[in-house]
């Protein structure tokens, strides 16, 4: 089948014909194609096979008659391990090893629904349903074997892609059974394995992407190469919302290899930003052409924005009444009558995601209305949505190829660069690979929202909490990215977790004060918890200090009298960190936890202070509460990574503006933590098995910085209420 037909007739059609599906996936021979589907009018997906059930099928398992076992993975891998962990959930129940399967990344086809890696959701969102598909396929293959052999099901079992008949020792491979299995009724409630019998889930299974990533063989978006491909480098204005007046391209056109210029608009959420692309036969020529381009911008009054002024605005707003997001009891009365009162303002800055792979995308138009995209993205479905919306072509006319991503951290949830490449390539009669510079990646956003927290607590004379308030003051992601005029709904996303910690805090009244901004803002790993958790957990520490209590014991004995996951987590942290063991002089340890939509994690950090008021991080202990764990080693990696990212945000970098432009451009002035600055992180996982399952990618981030700051207080008596801070001079 030719490419155009493949795009025109995507696998999303209902009543999918098995033969065509196999053609689409390049497999040979009829076989078992099993997945999830919706019957018209149904709310819940059912397990369904191609050809046997009249439903819109999202195939997850394809076994062809030659024995090739393909597993579809809808969750892009940005380094968090979904390339293995998502197929692993299917393979476990299907009784195949990870070496036996071919993993195919889905491309935003409608029937797969959400295909976005974000919100620490890839495992917890798929755990039950993908295991069910795997188990159903296994039951069908076993049944097919019993029919061939005319033996009872109870005498057969599956292992390693083969069905065995115990009494006779006969065996048939899945490939030999696939055709017959594909014709059988689909079991709707297959028996899932007892977790004690798991061979893959819960084990430190080596990841199949590792050999590719240490040999230069892994293909990232930036590595895609197509015949006749041209390159694009783009001139963007570093002052947001500027208008392009004109450009002078004589010098650009003199650069050897430059072909043409394309004027277009970068579409980021609801924003449209003017831009000019230089197209050339090498990236270097395109980039040189861009440097030679003289663009006249009209800043339209946006060249006055200044971070120092904006932060002063947020400070002033902290005195205002905001939207009440939680109210319990009577905060005002309890606070004003409390014998001990505490207040503090915490200030967290804008930061950039800065994945190591700069944003890039390759686009090829097959004629006027068929588009093919190769991209590192966190969501093929979102790539399609954003291109379809901005370029006005039907979603089904876009084929998306998802490659490995050189980091995501939330940045690749927003596919403005894919829309850019598609817009540019539309004006070029060749495939075009567009690559941003690191400067563009650093300066053009979207950024994590700057977020201030005004904290208040009233304590009794013996240190018990009587009143508590966490008021968040910030712009919002939705208001900038989606251009929402009504910002009242933003209060919930910008106050993530502050009202739902397990702490027993009476008379709690939490608020949100909205602040306008024109800079594009977006989710950054662990979203708003990456900022509000710092204020929350440092302030709890302030309360403990005011009460004259040990900060961990204060949490356990005063704030967590009832059993909870949080209490269990803190008890585990106390144990693994040897919390009660005395530390050398000049050392201090701090604790913090945070529970939010993605999950629950906590840290104990140990630091030592030096004579020159520098701080050295001696040891980091982390506990993450998961319920069930798929790959413990990958969890440890994610936590180590989250701690590193949190440390960078705490001690290194902020995005700040002068004259409407970011002051930071590249890693020399937007530094990241380097190897010599990163301590060991000892990771402990709470996973007792069972259906309860929490996220991994993000919960390791929010509690790190507050645990560090609390440790610094313990060591030095100094409170850190503004990030980033200089760890070499506290």
């Amino acid at each position: 089948m030719r490419l155009k037909e493949m795009i025109k007739q995507p696998a999303s059609r209902g009543d999918l014909d098995r033969r065509r599906f196999l053609q689409l996936t390049g497999l040979s021979g009829l076989g078992l194609v099993l997945g999830l589907g919706w019957k018209p009018g149904d709310e819940e997906a059912i397990v369904a096979a191609a050809g046997t059930t009249a439903v819109n099928l999202s195939a997850y398992i394809i076994i062809d008659s030659s024995g090739t076992i393909s597993i579809m993975n809808p969750q892009p891998d940005m380094g968090q391990g979904t390339f293995q962990s998502v197929p692993a959930m299917i393979a476990e129940e299907l009784e195949v090893t990870l070496e036996q399967i071919r993993i195919i990344q889905t491309g935003g086809e409608k029937q797969y629904g959400r295909q976005t890696s974000g919100g620490s959701n890839s495992i917890r969102g798929n755990y039950q349903k993908l295991r069910t598909v795997g188990a159903a396929a296994k039951e069908m293959l076993i049944l097919a074997a019993t029919q061939r052999w005319k033996v009872p099901v109870s005498e057969c079992y599956a292992s390693g892609g083969v069905v065995y008949h115990k009494p006779s020792g006969k065996s048939l491979s899945y490939g030999e059974l696939a055709v017959e299995a594909g014709r059988l009724p689909v079991p709707q409630q297959p028996v899932l394995k007892d977790p004690r019998d798991f061979k893959i889930i819960g084990k430190n299974y080596p990841r199949p992407d590792v050999p590719l990533k240490i040999s230069g063989k892994a293909v990232y978006g930036i590595d895609v190469e197509l015949p006749g491909m041209l390159y694009a480098s783009v001139a963007h204005c570093p002052v947001f919302n500027s208008k392009l007046v004109s450009y002078e391209d004589a010098d650009t056109m003199r650069v050897k290899g430059v072909k043409k210029l394309v004027r277009f608009q970068r579409a980021l959420g609801a924003h449209k930003y003017d831009a000019v692309a230089v197209i050339a036969d090498t990236y270097w020529a395109a980039y040189q052409g861009k440097l030679a381009l003289k663009v006249k911008w009209d800043y339209d009054g946006n060249d006055v924005f200044d971070t120092d002024v904006y932060e002063q605005t947020l400070r002033e707003l902290s005195g205002k009444e905001g939207t009440v997001v939680h109210s319990d009891g009577n905060f005002e009365a309890a606070f004003s009558s409390a014998p001990v009162q505490l207040t503090a303002l915490y200030e967290l800055p804008m930061v950039s995601h800065s994945p190591m792979e700069p944003q890039n995308c390759t686009a090829l138009w097959h004629g006027k209305d068929l588009l093919e995209i190769w991209v590192s993205s966190q969501g093929a479905d979102r790539v399609k949505d954003e291109i379809a919306r901005n370029l006005g072509i039907p979603r089904d006319n876009i084929k998306v190829n998802i490659l490995f991503s050189g980091g995501g951290f939330g940045r690749r949830l927003y596919n403005d660069y894919a829309v850019e490449a598609a817009s540019i390539a539309r004006e070029v009669d060749a495939p075009v690979k567009m690559i941003w510079t690191r400067e563009e990646d650093t300066q053009l956003g979207p950024f994590r929202p700057p977020t201030f927290s005004a904290m208040k607590a009233g304590l009794s004379a013996d240190g018990k909490p009587l009143a508590f308030q966490h008021k968040v003051i910030s712009p919002s992601m939705g208001s900038t990215l989606e251009d929402k005029k009504d910002t009242s709904g933003e209060s919930s996303s910008m106050t993530e977790g502050i009202s739902t910690q397990a702490y027993e805090l009476p008379n709690m009244k939490n608020e949100y004060v909205f602040s306008q901004i024109h800079i594009p803002l977006a989710a950054w790993r662990s979203v708003t918890s990456s900022t509000v958790a710092f204020a929350h957990e440092c302030f709890i520490d302030e309360m403990a200090a005011k009460a004259g209590r040990d900060p961990l014991q204060y949490r356990l004995d005063v704030l967590l009298t009832k059993d909870s996951d949080t209490k269990r987590l803190l008890l585990k942290l106390k144990e693994v960190s040897y919390w009660d063991r005395p530390l050398p002089a000049g050392w201090g340890r701090g604790v913090a936890q945070y529970e939010f939509f993605a999950g629950l994690g906590g840290y104990v950090v140990e630091v030592s202070s030096t004579n020159q008021s520098g701080i050295h991080i001696e040891k980091v202990y982390m506990v993450i509460d998961l319920g069930t764990v798929v790959n413990p080693d990958m969890v440890a990696l994610q936590v180590e990574g989250a701690a590193t990212m949190a440390l960078t945000a705490a001690i290194k970098s902020a995005i700040t503006f002068t004259n409407g432009q970011t002051r930071q451009t590249n890693f020399h002035n937007y530094p990241l933590v380097r190897i010599n600055e990163m301590p060991e992180v000892e990771v402990h996982i709470i996973a007792e098995g069972g259906p309860k399952i929490k996220g991994v990618g993000e919960p390791g981030l929010p509690p790190f910085a507050p645990a560090l700051a609390n440790a610094i207080f313990a060591a030095t008596g100094k409170r850190i209420r503004k990030l980033p801070f200089n760890i070499n001079k506290v």
């Binding site: 380094g79 590792v210 990533k213 990236y283 190591m356 050189g406 951290f409 990696l637 590193t644």
Partner: protein, 154 residues
């Protein structure tokens, strides 16, 4: 434009390129080896590290003209089958997350181990400080380099 002969992983390539083009883009876009990565373009991140006559250089700031007549080794050239001690150790410790920086990490580590077969943590930190990893694989890189040293010295 000039005709430039490069020796990459023991193979000769004669390319037509602007001698001012960074070696990185010549390796990636003309020679066609994509394992060497673009990260910053100003020798800040190390993702583009290759060996030039045995020395680790940042190919994003090394002019292709300068590389002529020298032995260039990229990640694709250190072994055909992941048998280099560093690659074995990287697999053993499952070092990569996104993996984008790992070519550069391994190329820097290879020079370290050649010059110092028994590096301390401090030696590793000093040699590897030029290689950024946003995913935070640093502590595993440290362990894997120690392990690779053991494999090499065994």
């Amino acid at each position: 434009m000039a005709s430039i002969t490069l020796t990459v992983n023991k193979k000769k390539y004669t390319i037509e390129a602007d001698p001012q083009m960074p070696l990185l883009w010549a390796i990636r876009d003309i020679v066609g080896l994509k394992g060497t990565k673009f990260g910053c373009g100003m020798a800040q991140c190390g993702a583009c590290t290759v060996h030039l006559d045995g020395e680790a250089v940042r190919s994003c700031v090394t002019l292709v003209g300068r590389a002529e007549g020298q032995e260039i080794v990229t990640i694709e050239g250190i072994s055909d089958d992941n048998s280099h001690p560093l690659q074995k150790a990287w697999i053993e410790f499952q070092v990569p997350q996104c993996g984008y920086c790992q070519s550069g990490q391994i190329m820097s580590a290879a020079v370290l181990l050649r010059e110092n077969p028994h590096p301390t943590d401090r030696d590793i930190d000093e040699a590897m400080m030029g290689n950024l990893c946003r995913c935070g694989t640093y502590t595993r890189i440290r362990k894997a380099i120690h392990r690779a040293a053991e494999i090499m010295n065994a």
